[in-house]
Structure formats: C-alpha cells, structure tokens
Subunit: 283 residues, 2 copies
C-alpha cells in the first residue's frame, strides 16, 4: 500500500496532508486528507487516537478539510483526523445516468454496490471499514485500537451504519445531520435501490434505524447534532426515527436539536469542537 503525497502544509502546530493511493477495495485511485497533530512529533513510537470524518453528497475530502474548523482543537487534543472521499472516481467509474447530485459520483452512500454498472467500483463500505483503517494505521502515528467515526448527512449515515456494524473498529461514534433511515426517505430509496437492488430486506444492513431494530449495538454512546432550520430535516433526515429505535433498544443516544442551524458547514463547524471532545473522551 503506497501513498503518494499530494500536498503537505503546516497547520496549528501539526501538519495537514493530502494523499492519493491505489485502492484495492474500489479498484480506483482514492484521495484523502489527514491532519497529524503536533503530539505525533513527541516520539518515534507515538500512537494517537484518530477520527474518521465521512462527508456528504457532492463532497470530496476537500470540503471538511477547508471548512470543518477541526485543526485547532485536534492539535490541542492530540487527535488525528482523516477525511476520505465520498465515492470512487476516474475513468471507467459509472455515474448517475442523468448526472444527478444524489447518486453516483460524490454519492457512494458507503455501501458495496451489487448492481451493474456500479458493483465494479462502488465499494465504499469495504474501503472505509477495512482498507482505510489498515492504511492509516500502517502509515501514520495512529493507535488502531483507538479509532472513532463521524460524518455529515450521507456521511452521517455512513458513520452510523459502519459504527453499528463494526464497534470493534470504531470505538466512538457521532454524526452531524445524518440520514438515519435511508429505507424510509427519497435519497435512500434512490441510492440503496440503485446500488443494492430492489429487495428492501437487503437495505436493512445499510439503514442505521433498521440496524438498531435488528440488534446491532455501537461501542458506546452516540452523539447526533441536527439543525432545526435544515431544509432536508423533514423529508430526508428524520432523526426521530433513529431516536425512537434507540430508545426502544436501550441504545444511549444524545440527539441535540439546534435551533436556527441549517445543513451547511456553518452548522458543522459550530459543533465540531463538541464532537471532537466527544470522541477524544472515549478513545
């Protein structure tokens, strides 16, 4: 597993780095950013806790890297922060036939697609669950026993489904304005139908609410922030569906409804500090 350096830049006493690598999971080149805090320089053998941040529809690694405002506090907490892309890209990678923003490129939904022509490369589930944690542990001063996961919108869906399915990999879990019940909302119908086919029983493994109903449990408590002025709240996000499932199952969920906040990085960056502390306290 070879990493090619795209850029490296000192930030908040640490280093903001961007890498490309040939992904075995997706069969494409994948790009991610990593912030390595100054604590990594203390000793050769430093093993720091780290947080994966999964991005939402239309995003690449760059959106949260530019606008997430996470570096200052990660530098203070000694937390490594890794931001992957949201889909495979490049020559031969299928896209939505109509070029829609909510399916295909930039919209991998963190599943292993089974349907042609997407099955060939859209394997973001394996990429995030297995390949990227191993890659990061091999190349950076990271403790593989102290990894957490968070994400926004479609990336919040990815964080919740991966965190519920692999609690031994992702020891802490949170989300910003996540899609919590894709089986019950239009974005999810389109994506899960397109990637996994129309047998809705197969969708339950990629639906956080269904996963909790079906007995999956996270490593610990879950934090979700949701803006009340988010234009996707009522139709696509519906966090109370997940809250009800968690309450019934005894899963410890803190769902915070934030008055006045929308779906943008103005919302995410406002509550980023709280999420970083949430993970640092648990890792």
């Amino acid at each position: 597993m070879t990493l090619e350096t795209v850029s490296t830049s000192k930030a908040h006493g640490g280093t903001l780095e961007v890498y490309k690598h040939a992904s075995a999971a997706t069969g494409t080149e994948m790009t991610f950013s990593v912030f390595v805090p100054p604590q990594a320089q203390v000793g050769e053998g430093a093993k720091l806790p780290m947080l994966f941040y999964l991005s939402g529809l239309t995003c690449t690694h760059a959106n949260v890297t530019d606008k997430g405002e996470y570096r200052r506090l990660c530098a203070e907490l000694g937390l490594v922060f890794v931001a992957p892309d949201t889909s495979p890209r490049g020559e031969g990678v299928a896209d939505d036939p109509a070029g829609a923003y909510d399916f295909g490129l930039g919209a991998g939904f963190y599943v292993n697609a089974t349907q042609a022509p997407f099955a060939a490369h859209y394997r973001m589930w394996d990429y995030i669950a297995q390949e990227l944690p191993a890659l990061v542990a091999a190349h950076f001063p990271v403790d593989p026993a102290r990894m957490g996961i968070t994400g926004h919108s479609m990336g919040g869906h990815g964080a919740l489904t991966l965190g519920l399915t692999f609690p031994e990999t992702f020891k802490s879990l949170s989300a910003f304005a996540p899609i919590v019940a894709p089986g019950q909302v239009p974005w999810g119908h389109k994506a899960l139908g397109g990637y996994l086919g129309e047998d809705k029983a197969l969708w339950r493994a990629h639906d956080a609410t269904a996963l909790v109903e079906d007995g999956k449990r996270p490593a610990g408590a879950i934090l979700i922030d949701q803006g009340e002025a988010d234009s996707f709240l009522a139709e696509q996000l519906r966090p109370h569906l997940f809250a009800q499932a968690c309450e019934k199952a005894g899963v410890d969920l803190t769902l915070r409804m934030q008055p006045g906040y929308d779906h943008s990085y103005n919302f995410i960056s406002t509550f980023m500090d709280d999420h970083l502390r949430w993970h640092a306290e648990r890792l």
Copy 2:
C-alpha cells in the same frame, strides 16, 4: 445604499451573511461577507467593534469566509468581521491582457487606478477607505469609531497602506504575510506600474515601507505574522524592509517569523485567533 442578501446562515451563535451592492466607488456590483456575532442580538442599539479582512491575489470574499476559521472567536469576543472582494468584476471591467493571476481581476491591489483601461473601475482604495466603512456602519450593529483592518499578502499590503494613511478610520492594524514594499518587488512593480503608471514617486502612497519613511503613522502598534516556509517570502514579501523602516521611525511593530508555515490558509487560520485578540484588545 441598498444591500441585496445573497445568503444568510447561522454560525457559532451568530450569523454569516453575504451581500451584493452597487458600488459608487467602483461603478460595479460588489460582494462581501459579514459575520455578525451573537452579541448583536442583545439590544437594538448594539454597537460592536469590527474588523476588515482584505484578501490576497486570486481570492474573492469567499476564501477567508470558507477557510479563515474566525467565527468561533469572533463570536466569543463580540467582533464583527467583514471580508470584501479583491477587485471590481463584471461586464466592462478590464482584466490583465494575458489573464495573469497577479494583475486585473482578483488583483486590484487596493489602489485607485489612474491608467486606462483600469481607471474606470479599479478604485478599491476609495471602496475600502470610504464606501465600505460607511455602508457597514449604516447597515450593521457596528461602532464606526471601533474599526480595525487586517489582510493577507496583497490584502496585507492593503491593510498596511490603508491603516497607515487613515489611522482615524482604522484604529487597529495587523497583517498576515503582507507585501510590505511593492515598490521593491515584482508583484508590486507590475501592479503599481499598471494601475498608477511608471512615475515611481506616485507609488510611494501605496507602499507601506515608503509610507512609514515618508512620515505616515498607524493608530497604534502593528502585528505581522510571516511563515518562514512561505515560497513568496524572499522575492515578493520581504518583511524586514518594513521592519527596518518601522524601527528607524519608532513605529511599534511586532513581526513574528513562524517556522514551517507556508502562504496558505493553513498558516492564516493558525494565527487568526492571535490577530482577532490583537484587534479586540485595541478596539
């Protein structure tokens, strides 16, 4: 003076707003962002201190708005933050004949151009010194007696030259990696020659080092941060030319050379908190 709202979004308890307006100074439509901190909501008559941030070559208002990481601390300090564009834009606005990044669109250099075809619209000096402070004071909960100015690179040049020339308007002054002596560096030769003509005596009013030599004085002390790994340091920025002039003139300058930092927003965002506190303490 009418403002047209482009966007508004809650952030860190305050509001991030983007506006367009017809500028009398430039004769074009101009765009700027403003962060209004939560302290503005306390009372109808709130009058808060504010900071102008002038951006560098190729930028619009959006670069610092996305990547400057200023909202959290502005919200804490009660500081309004205004980020204007770097040149006039739109139909009929001349650009560099070769489309270069360092002259014309995105590169107004904060002067009133006297040379055709730029003289018609490139009047960023008047826009920042007069029109925008009046506009902001009229439309936002801002105390016009408590305005400061900062900027990056070409914007640092703008902040220093405006701050030195109008200390009664800009009561506090700082810069990130500024062009301090445009009369002595290639970027400045091209821009000042192109906008003001080849009589170098006329350039001195837009050269921070020459302004100090010629007797101009800021309202108070000046803070400059400069990355030592900045690829423009030796040829274009040369902060020690300004430091020497300040020392000779008795101007109180704190010039901090920051090891390892480059010219990017990773550098700016790292030291943004220090600059915000610098201004808040003086306003």
